[in-house]
């Protein structure tokens, strides 16, 4: 008995498994960047109670500043890595200054004011970036050691992306260790549960806020720094990532750390495959998912219901 | 006639049992108080009675009607009034507007879309202001009032709904001895004049023993004693619970 054309039809329907794997890995890569930004967003929201619209802008600054430092350190050994370090730390510094000088003054007001100030920052940072770096696309080349690509099932996947995929959980683990096994971590977790209580326990809440905001900003800056060789550095990257970061944080749970990782992984895959399978519906689907989670389980998959 | 029946009501939060099988009833015209150390579950019990929280188990009946898990606004409309532990007023509105809003809601005018609101129920509102001792403070922004006056305003808002049963959550909290005395006198007078049934929680033992007809003692979510003031005063269980809480 000969095999029927049915077999051929099935094969035409099923895409190449190596192609699927590559798509999945791309989704994983994007998920890591989402995780970096969303975890900073989640941390800031958990401790300070502020939803930082400007987090995408800090990410963008990280990318631009990395580009700047790479241009400064032309032909220096390890120029990319130095640029990443300086770029992310600069963003951390900028974040700390913003919190200390401006955001702090709005704490006594209603939450809407703080939210809107972060939006004002989005406008300001976006235009500052345009003034300094123009509106064209910029890019940074990949570091020498990670310039190559690795063959996977017959297709090639960039070494740099693999590095990013490995780095994500690495940073997650590092933060988990700090949050659960150090004094600072315990304070941060306590602050997320009850800010006022912490103040009466003698913790300098003001400094805590500045430190947490700085760390959150550093994470965003790091994300931007690391994305600079992969994505185009261009105005608008701030707006594009912040919406997705919001979705991740909502799905995973505002203030929940592992939830953010989970949310990032989910969204990364949905975006990666959605474009292929349901290009028209995937965008709508993502927002519907966000709405559904907010309606049914607003504290996300792994978060805890807000007591406030 | 029995005003309020609380039957084996239970409520937990995340594993912590706040109210554990509490049962009691309150008769019409009675003045009852619920006492107990901090964390005993008094405010939670109130929130369950007024519908702000859902019960896990048990039943609640008001004037013979089953009110278990009804939304707060329905329970209010049936004739229950309440004051809250932390002052609950409408801070940016004036004292007059605070009371007027409650009167508007009570008299069913809340869906009126077209007439200017200033003209409604001016006399009734002034009358209530007078009853709670705020006659001349009508035009003051309520958020700027002193604590004591805000508490009086809160009482006024509760009274505006012409309740038959009034629940007061720590009505004299944070007051000086003089203010406490004035407040209790005011509450006692209004209760008598209107024939209200009163259920309140308190920490101030003097207040409790001076006006309560019946006292209930809550401890760790359970009702551990119930009876006349004299009985409670001499009850060994209650004294054990209150060791160290002299007043």
């Amino acid at each position: 008995m000969r095999s029927k054309p049915v077999v051929l039809k099935v094969r035409a329907f099923m895409p190449d498994p190596s192609f699927l794997l590559i798509q999945s890995l791309s989704g994983l890569t994007y998920a890591m960047f989402l995780f970096l930004i969303a975890s900073g967003l989640s941390l800031i929201f958990g401790v300070l109670g502020i939803l930082n619209f400007a987090h995408g802008s800090l990410y963008m600054l990280g990318a631009y500043l990395t580009y700047q430092f790479v241009s400064q350190f032309i032909d220096a050994p390890g120029q990319f890595w130095w640029a990443v370090v300086f770029g992310s730390l600069s963003v951390a510094l900028i974040g700390g200054v913003i919190e200390r000088l401006f955001l702090r003054r709005l704490y006594i007001r209603e939450e809407l004011n703080q939210l809107l100030f972060t939006y004002a920052l989005v406008l300001l940072i976006s235009d500052f970036a345009k003034i300094i770096w123009g509106t064209g696309q910029l890019s940074v080349s990949r570091p020498a050691i990670l310039k190559g690509a690795v063959p996977i099932l017959g297709q090639y996947f960039p070494e740099y992306n693999i590095f990013v995929i490995a780095l994500g959980p690495g940073i997650a683990l590092l933060f988990w260790l700090i949050l659960h096994h150090s004094r600072w971590g315990r304070i941060i977790r306590a602050a997320a549960l009850d800010r006022e209580m912490l103040g009466s326990l003698g913790v300098n809440v003001n400094w805590l806020f500045t430190v947490v905001f700085t760390i959150g900003a550093w994470l965003a800056g790091l994300g931007g720094a690391l994305v600079s060789p992969i994505a185009a550095i261009v105005p608008g990257m701030d707006v594009e990532i912040i919406i997705n970061a919001f979705i991740v944080v909502v799905i995973g749970g505002l203030g929940s750390f592992w939830g953010t990782l989970l949310g990032a992984l989910i969204l990364g895959q949905v975006i990666s495959f959605g474009i292929l399978v349901f290009p028209r519906l995937s965008m709508v689907f993502i927002y519907i998912l966000m709405a559904v989670v907010l309606i049914l389980r607003p504290w996300g998959l792994l978060g805890k219901p807000l007591q406030r | 006639m029995i005003m309020l029946v609380v039957e084996k009501v239970k409520k937990s939060f995340d594993g912590f049992v706040a109210v554990n099988g509490v049962s009691f009833s309150v008769n019409k015209g009675e003045i009852c108080s619920i006492i107990g150390p901090n964390g005993a579950g008094k405010t939670t019990l109130f929130n369950l009675i007024t519908g702000h929280l859902r019960v896990d188990e048990g039943k609640l009946a008001f004037k013979g009607i089953d009110i278990t898990n009804l939304p707060p606004h329905r329970i209010c409309r049936l004739g229950m009034g309440r004051s809250f532990q932390r002052t609950n007023i409408f801070p940016r509105l004036t004292v007059f507007q605070n009371i007027q809003a409650a009167v508007l809601a009570h008299r069913g005018e809340s869906f009126n879309f077209y007439k200017p609101v200033e003209s409604f129920f001016r006399e009734e509102t002034q009358a209530i202001l007078g009853r709670v001792g705020l006659k001349d403070y009508g035009d003051m922004v309520s958020g700027s009032l002193s604590y004591g006056f805000q508490k009086q305003l809160e009482l006024g808002i509760a009274l505006a709904s012409e309740p038959e049963l009034l629940l007061l959550d720590e009505p004299t909290a944070g007051m000086s001895a003089k203010e406490t005395h004035q407040t209790i006198e005011l509450i006692g007078r209004i209760t008598r004049e209107e024939g209200l049934t009163l259920l309140f929680t308190e920490h101030d033992m003097e207040v409790v023993f001076s006006i309560s007809a019946r006292i209930m003692v809550l401890h760790q979510g359970r009702l551990i004693a119930e009876g006349l003031p004299e009985e409670i005063r001499h009850s060994p269980e209650v004294q054990k619970v209150y060791l160290g809480e002299a007043r």
Partner: protein, 307 residues
């Protein structure tokens, strides 16, 4: 009370005289301000009066704009029908979306409004066959008897004044007072016998209704519609206008719209960095003028009276 009404009538009279200046510029700006003013005031029904922070108001503006456009262009309905259908669709959308949103409070409510607004945007953006997707729909003409900027300006003036009249009545009525108590203290309002969620939903629908009218007016005024009208920065922009003017007064948002549109016109003729200016204004507002322009003016007047 009466003084205020005479003041308003004077303003309306002045506005009616604008086209006599024969300046296309002022007629254009005036129409724009009236439309955005209506949009902002309808948002403020939720924000300033009911205390609901809404990040997705652009959805109803856009629904109004697209409903009118699609009914006129694709379905060839008559102008009155299409124009009246727009706010109806807006109110229905607000009802559906509102039912879900009011189940949550504060930040979750705000994010829900944002999520739904993005859903609507994504649908409009992707449904190419119906809405033209990213290309939008162009070539929307003035309606038959309103076929000049001046005539359309007067039509807009009438519609907007009438809308303001209705909204103002509602806000100064017992219903409006209930909204204010909800803003001040929803828990307390619940226990004066008010079904808070029902009132919030009604406010939502009224707000959506009038935002959609603004959207329909805009579709005609702009002679085109694009998905951008529904994108979240548009919601942010109208929110800023509302705060700029002052969210605790009825006409504050209209003042905010006027100032912001005028400033934008000025600034964009010199530089492309309007977002920078807008961000600075917003920051200044938040730090120094929390009551907005009208709030600030009110404190000034208070000063001189209490001498």
């Amino acid at each position: 009370m009466f003084k205020e009404n005479w003041f308003l009538i004077a303003i309306i009279f002045l506005l009616a005289l604008v086209p006599l200046s024969d300046s296309r510029f002022y007629i254009f700006l005036g129409t724009d301000i009236l439309i955005m003013g209506l949009f902002a005031v309808s948002l403020n029904l939720l924000l300033g009066y009911t205390g609901l922070v809404c990040f997705g108001q652009a959805a109803y503006f856009g629904i109004g704009a697209y409903t009118y456009t699609l009914l006129m262009k694709k379905a060839s309905f008559s102008f009155p029908f299409a124009f009246l259908a727009a706010p109806v669709f807006g109110a229905v959308a607000a009802l559906i979306i509102g039912i879900f949103c009011i189940q949550r409070t504060k930040i979750y409510f705000a994010m829900l409004t944002l999520a739904f607004s993005q859903i609507v945007w994504a649908i409009v953006f992707k449904w190419n066959s119906l809405t033209g997707g990213d290309n939008g729909i162009i070539g929307i003409p003035f309606p038959q008897h309103l076929d000049s900027p001046t005539r359309f300006y007067y039509f807009t003036l009438v519609v907007v004044v009438f809308s303001f009249y209705i909204m103002r009545k509602a806000v100064n009525s017992p219903f409006g007072r209930m909204l204010t108590t909800i803003r001040e203290n929803p828990e307390r309002t619940e226990f004066i016998g008010i079904n808070v969620k029902l009132f919030q939903l009604l406010a939502f629908m009224i707000s959506g209704f009038f935002s959609a009218i603004a959207g329909a007016l805009f579709a005609i005024f702009n002679h085109s519609v694009f998905p951008d009208l529904l994108f979240w920065p548009h919601s942010a922009e109208v929110l800023i206008m509302t705060l700029l003017g002052g969210m605790y007064s009825f006409f504050g948002p209209l003042v905010g719209a006027a100032v912001m549109l005028y400033l934008r016109m000025l600034v964009t003729s010199y530089t492309q960095y309007w977002p920078l200016i807008m961000g600075t204004i917003l920051a200044l507002l938040l730090f120094f003028f929390p009551g907005g322009i009208v709030g600030f003016l009110k404190t000034q007047r208070l000063f001189s009276r209490e001498k």
